[in-house]
């Protein structure tokens, strides 16, 4: 009797577990299929966009009239950014796929620059035409390879989930058509020397160049530590450590860490010349004793003591009990925005707890500032008449094309918003307009 009952109970339990297990299995599969479908869509969208892109570049090559060239280039630009975002949705991070993505953003940049330019006044040069041609060739190759992969995916019903697994575990000898296909695409793109794209694409490497051209001689570890100490205050019996940068860095630097009970200071100092790139002191700041204004003055004094000349405060923000300031060089009342230094001041005792001169070091040089060609009044005419101009000055900025240009800077208001408007002081072009951010309300979580 009891035996029968037990058997009955057990079988019910087994059947129950079976049903539960089956449902779990079904659910898991549904989710897998869902994820798989997302990958599939991104992939097929990608190939489709590349198809379109290739055709579009082809049409621009054949175009003769300037009126239709600009919109066509804009279309190319739009398609590249779409393709870029499709790539971003595929699990390719662990696969060397950078060259292809770079290729996409290069076409994007090229077409954007050409499209925003007034092609009536400055039509595409022969060189640019050649660039466009070579981009066309490259997109053809990518298109072909991707189509091959697409065909394999469709006919063999390959799954992206397997790709993800294969990439994550990286078993040797995985025969994975998708991975191999993408590797081929990458190789093809890599095959084109970077010189193919001409001299249009600078800017990316500007930073590294700036660091490599710093004046001064190489310093030793001990000297680095000495310099580091100049950027710290109130440190007693610290534990220090200096390490050299790895081989992969574009410029050599020392990383110095200084620890005492309260402070946790880290900084990087360039090997050549011994310039601090950044300093960080991680310590708790519990209360505010000095004002943001006072802190700003201390930050400026800090810069002066360390031979940063002609610095003007550009921005100041208070976050909890810390003030963050941006200073820029100002020569003869011309602000040089690329040469920016950031400073963090603790508002409890006014000590400097952060310093970053990365941008300053990369861009600072003996520059000759050209004289403005147009007058301030002429520049003002370019500003939207609805904007009420409150402040104006001359400034050097990096424009959209990453070139340094001399501009008239206008601070103005439109409604409740404040705008910063830059008008090129040489050719009256509207270079840049920024809407300045106002404070954001805190969307408080209900706790």
């Amino acid at each position: 009797m009891i035996r029968n009952l037990l058997i009955g109970l057990l079988s019910v339990a087994i059947i129950g577990t079976g049903i539960w297990g089956y449902q779990e299995h079904k659910e898991k599969n549904a989710i897998l299929i869902h994820a798989e479908n997302n990958y599939q869509r991104a992939f097929h969208d990608l190939t489709y966009t590349i198809d379109l892109l290739h055709d579009k570049i082809g049409t621009t090559l054949a175009m003769n009239s300037r009126q239709s060239l600009s919109p066509a280039l804009v279309d190319v630009w739009r398609l590249t950014s779409e393709a870029h975002s499709h790539v971003g949705q595929l699990p390719l991070t662990l696969l060397p796929f950078n060259k292809t993505e770079e290729f996409l953003s290069n076409i994007g940049e090229f077409s954007y620059r050409a499209a925003v330019r007034d092609l009536e006044k400055s039509p595409l040069s022969d060189e640019e035409y050649e660039t466009l041609k070579s981009l066309y060739e490259q997109s053809k190759e990518i298109q072909d390879e991707l189509r091959k992969v697409q065909h394999a995916v469709l006919s063999n019903q390959l799954r992206w989930m397997d790709v993800e697994m294969a990439l994550a575990t990286e078993e040797e000898n995985v025969d994975n058509t998708i991975i191999d296909g993408f590797k081929t695409v990458e190789k093809k793109v890599e095959g084109y020397s970077e010189g193919d794209l001409g001299t249009i694409f600078t800017g990316m490497n500007k930073k590294e160049e700036g660091f490599q051209n710093l004046p001064g001689k190489e310093i030793s570890k001990e000297e680095a530590l000495e310099i580091a100490k100049k950027y710290t205050t109130n440190i007693k019996d610290p534990e220090t450590k200096v390490t050299e940068s790895g081989k992969g860095s574009d410029y050599e630097f020392y990383s110095v860490s200084i620890r005492d009970g309260k402070n946790e200071i880290d900084m990087d100092i360039t090997k050549k010349g011994g310039y601090p790139i950044w300093v960080m002191n991680h310590r708790e700041v519990k209360e505010q004793k000095i004002s943001l204004n006072e802190a700003g003055n201390r930050a400026l004094a800090f810069l002066k003591e360390r031979k940063f000349e002609n610095m003007k405060m550009f921005e100041s923000y208070q976050y909890d009990h810390v003030g963050v300031f941006t200073f820029v060089t100002s020569i003869n009342n011309v602000r040089i925005y690329p040469e920016a230094v950031k400073i963090k001041v603790a508002l409890d005792d006014g000590t400097i707890i952060g310093f970053s001169a990365e941008e300053y070091l990369a861009t600072h040089n003996e520059r000759s500032i050209p004289d403005p060609v147009i007058t301030e009044e002429e520049a003002k005419e370019q500003v939207n008449p609805n904007v009420k101009i409150m402040e104006s000055r001359l400034a050097i900025i990096n424009n959209e094309l990453n070139e340094e240009v001399l501009c008239y800077e206008f601070l103005g208001t439109l409604g409740n918003d404040t705008y910063r408007i830059f008008i090129n002081a040489l050719n009256q072009r509207e270079e840049k307009i920024e809407k300045l951010k106002s404070a954001e309300p805190i969307y408080e979580e209900i706790t």
């Binding site: 950014s81 870029h84 975002s85 971003g88 949705q89 662990l94 696969l95 060397p96 796929f97 993505e101 770079e102 996409l104 953003s105 993800e164 990439l167 575990t169 990286e170 990316m204 930073k207 390490t243 940068s245 790895g246 081989k247 992969g248 860095s249 630097f253 880290d266 990087d268 960080m280 991680h282 000095i290 004002s291 943001l292 204004n293 006072e294 700003g296 100041s316 923000y317 208070q318 976050y319 003030g323 941006t326 950031k342 963090k344 952060g354 970053s356 990365e358 941008e359 409150m390 409740n416 404040t418 920024e434 951010k437 106002s438 404070a439 954001e440 309300p441 805190i442 408080e444 706790t447």
Partner: protein, 273 residues
């Protein structure tokens, strides 16, 4: 004679009105002695905004953050009253403000704590200046000293910062502070890089990019340190040396990552190009 009586009556009414408002109002509350400048936050800024609104220079929200609108209001005030126009609320400017305006501190603070939308114009009774869309729940009351708005770096919202803090916490909690800043900086470097998506969320949720996203640790609640680290990275500190990859040599399964040029090691992570 009638005129005289009228005048007395008006004064009487005025006294009454002032008396209706809570008693703290009569304390001549004044600023602390700091110079208030753009970017500041806190009680002094609330008072500054309230006083500027009292005489109609400031039409924005009284939120305790000295932003551009407050800045222009203050400059206009300085201009109209023939003072030095510098956009700083120093001793002279503050004294002038105290002389020509009133500040109903308890009213302003109460409205802020309740989360109501309100204004503080002079010459209008308080009752007409409170919009009622704040929730008067007790949860709001408990947070009486918290500001209602905050400075946010250009180009980022608080939610972006929160999302990045989630990622940093999931990826690098237990790492040294600069290690956390470096992870945040890598996310930002990727946004800049042509080889990666162009948005913070795009970079973070790129399939396979971050283990914390793949295994769900990104949804742990981040601590204050992670948030600070993100803020530092956004404000321009990059301890990673412009890295766009990093990995933990003890747990990295992918051999390709070892082929990347290495920049430096912070804590357990190796940062590379």
């Amino acid at each position: 004679m009638v005129k005289k009586w009228m005048a007395v009556f008006v004064i009487f009414i005025c006294c009454l009105i002032i008396n209706i408002s809570p008693t703290e109002n009569q304390r001549t509350y004044a600023f602390s002695n700091q110079v208030i400048q753009i970017g500041s936050v806190g009680d002094d800024v609330i008072e500054l905004q309230s006083r500027l609104q009292y005489i109609g220079f400031y039409n924005g929200k009284i939120d305790g953050v000295f932003g551009w609108q407050t800045y222009w209001a203050l400059r206009n005030f300085q201009y109209e009253f023939g003072m030095k126009v510098d956009g700083l609320a120093g001793p002279a400017t503050k004294q002038k403000l105290i002389n020509v305006t009133k500040y109903n501190e308890s009213y302003v603070k109460e409205q802020i704590n309740k989360g109501n939308s309100f204004t503080h114009y002079g010459g209008t009774s308080i009752e007409n200046q409170t919009g009622n869309n704040g929730s008067n729940s007790s949860s709001q009351q408990s947070s009486s000293n918290k500001p209602t708005a905050a400075n946010v770096p250009n180009g980022f919202s608080q939610n972006d910062i929160q999302l990045m803090a989630n990622a940093v916490y999931g990826e690098a909690r237990g790492e040294p502070y600069i290690g956390q800043v470096a992870v945040a900086a890598v996310i930002l470097n990727r946004v800049e890089s042509p080889s990666f998506p162009n948005t913070v969320s795009g970079v973070i949720f790129e399939p396979g990019a971050f283990t914390a996203v793949s295994d769900g640790q990104i949804w742990l609640t981040p601590d204050e340190t992670a948030k600070k680290a993100v803020l530092d990275a956004i404000n321009g500190w990059d301890p990673s040396g412009n890295a766009i990859y990093y990995f933990n040599p003890n747990t990295a399964t992918n051999s390709w990552i070892w082929s990347r040029p290495q920049i430096k090691q912070i804590g357990k992570h190796i940062f590379c190009k």
